[in-house]
Point group: C2
Chain length 412, copies 2
């Protein structure tokens, strides 16, 4: 019997050590959702106290107005809330767009009774259309009122409110035992198309109740992003709106300061970011397979990562996976096209554990066996370069008629 | 009534100044086709005298055996023939592949009675499978015999024999008036998928009866390739086998030497290469539209070209064109993602002549009018950067369910 390649219902079926939880799993974080607008949905994420904040953003030269705003926020290092809308990216909207993003920040800060300059703003959706500000205002007032009346937190519902073409919410959480006690990390994320190294229309909101100094948090977030969202591609397009923000509010009373604690906390943050990246890849527009590229035996991690990215970014690899075609030549051709030196004569390749190419020599293989292995939801290409000890992974998804249909007929 | 977007039957309906002709249009060139193999088709291109040769090749680190051979040939500067096969790329085939490519060269030189080292070899098709050498030998003997018996030249049939997923042969020719008389340039080409800047599974054979010194020919071919095949993308994948070769056999008796002649000849070569690039883009796998990106007002040609390439390489632009969705935000987001600095506030955008974005401000437009303009086979995005005087074009095609179908189920 052929195994089903249908998507897993949640991350927990293919990730271990990850808790069922979201951005409100750490202490002191609250989230609410507003689905009242005809053209928008909104979410509010609030910490009950000011938090240290760090972030990473799209490298697209056309940075959306909310991204420009968040860059300034992160430079300040302190944030207490985020107001997020899906349906309109507020990108390529010029001076009006910048004024609208600032007005979102002001309105939200005033409604919550906190310093407006500590409010982050994130938007995703159609490009080049002015924000419907009447809806934005209505949403902000509703969301702030819910928080102030002490309504039950809606972490899962907020994670749904920020989706666009995503088919399911993306959340996760874990706990980390440190020398001073236990801390919690959680996230909510969205992302489905326009996903590529350099980030994507991808919004990721990480929270923790650990207390972390701004410079340390910034470094750890940078490392986590490099090993996760920068190793992710759905379609090779890079969004104007990518945003990863991470708040550390200290509500656990545990300070991340000693070297071992910093390392353990950083490793957990990276691990959770990788889970989020895999969730995003697995829910790529039209996807029927998650593709993992693992490149090992490289001289440097950067070399391994660039080659792994080249594999998961290849349209020919993506369509071969969709067709369950063990067409390994496309995988190695993609490695060759990565822009870095490479010697195919020293390389070997496995597909879901089956060796297809061994130190420069194509191996005969059982086509039916190979096709059966590709029926798994996750298809792993493992390339051993034979040049060193470094390794890296990257994640993507297959390219299907579903992707074409969504993007030919949906105005993103 | 909505105009049809069906493909033009030949280049001549959308290119002016191009003759009906192929690689045998210049004097002294002959071509033959062999379609007798179950797994291969082959073509032979011969000059009746040794010719100056120049070439450009894939930058993929995994260079197919025939590419390695042609690099050595071009370094020598002299060639009299090319033997070409479609159906098997002889790529990632290791030492056996190199020996097979050399044997093709040897067999062809011996059968033609010319110096084997002057024979070029090109292959396209499936990667990682050894060449069926018995078929190769049969084909070479048939083809050489046809030439030696003085059989009528088969330029068009040869252009068909080298195709893979292409739906039609790609040929063109033109004449150039120089101070010493008229010279002819012609080509045959193939290419449909795995097409991207840095070249593609793209084989292009240019011929001319002009006499051109090796160093001059090399420079002119390099300029022509930069302005044509390096500004072309079908799917972002870069082949192991891309080859552009250009032979100048001097059979016209006209020498390209004086500065004005070199310039006129080079401009004609570039023009013809651009026609070939547009033919390849228009016949991209599954394509229903040719996409032209014209970027002007740049500070340098390189800047304009990289931004134009970013537009035609974007999966979101490609799917929007397929859906006839005037989603201009995707076009500008692609410009922003090109990796180069850019100020959207100074830019303007036209789509088939309709201005959608003017100096940083989105313009209201008639959606029905915009959609109607996108019904044309060719969709032109013109971006004015407002930064300088340089400009460049790039060509691609839309991304359709047809592309996915071909590549999920065809073993390339």
């Amino acid at each position: 019997m052929e195994p089903s390649s249908s998507k897993p219902v949640s991350s927990s079926s293919w990730e271990t050590g990850i808790e069922v939880g979201d951005a409100t799993f750490p202490r002191g974080f609250w989230a609410y959702a507003w689905e009242g607008g005809p053209r928008l949905r909104m979410a509010l994420l609030v910490s009950d106290r000011p938090a240290t904040v760090a972030g990473r953003f799209t490298v697209n030269a056309a940075q959306a107005a909310p991204v420009q705003l968040c860059r300034r926020l992160v430079a300040g290092g302190v944030s207490q809330a985020a107001v997020i809308n899906a349906g309109n990216a507020n990108a390529l909207t010029g001076a009006q767009g910048r004024a609208d993003a600032e007005r979102m920040q002001q309105l939200c800060g005033q409604a919550l009774g906190i310093e407006p300059a500590t409010v982050a703003v994130a938007s995703t959706g159609v490009i080049g259309v002015p924000l419907p500000m009447a809806e934005i205002e209505a949403g902000i007032h509703y969301l702030a009122e819910r928080y102030q009346m002490g309504a039950p937190s809606e972490g899962e519902k907020a994670a749904r409110a920020i989706l666009t073409t995503d088919t399911r919410p993306k959340t996760g959480a874990l706990t980390v035992s440190l020398s001073g006690g236990t801390v919690r990390i959680g996230y909510m994320a969205k992302g489905s198309g326009m996903i590529h190294p350099g980030m994507a229309t991808m919004l990721v909101f990480l929270t923790t109740d650990a207390a972390v100094a701004p410079a340390v948090l910034d470094r750890l977030v940078g490392e986590a992003v490099d090993a996760s969202f920068h190793a992710l591609s759905v379609d090779g397009d890079m969004s104007t709106n990518d945003t990863v923000l991470c708040w550390a509010n200290g509500a656990s009373g545990v300070v991340v300061e000693q070297a071992e604690d910093v390392q353990a906390f950083g490793a957990a943050l990276t691990r959770l970011a990788q889970v989020a990246a895999r969730q995003i890849a697995a829910d790529g527009e039209g996807a029927t397979h998650l593709i993992t590229a693992r490149v090992r035996g490289a001289q440097t991690v950067a070399d391994a990562r660039q080659k792994a990215r080249a594999i998961i970014a290849s349209a020919l690899v993506k369509t071969a996976v969709y067709g369950r075609d063990p067409n390994w030549g496309r995988v190695l051709a993609a490695v060759g096209a990565s822009g870095l030196p490479w010697d195919p004569a020293r390389a070997s390749l496995w597909m879901n554990g089956l060796c297809l190419y061994n130190q420069g020599v194509p191996l005969p293989f059982d086509e039916a066996e190979a096709k059966a292995r590709m029926a798994a939801f996750e298809v792993v290409f493992e390339v051993a370069l034979g040049e060193g000890e470094a390794e890296a992974e990257a994640w993507g998804c297959d390219l299907t008629e579903g992707y074409v249909d969504i993007n030919a007929h949906y105005r993103t």
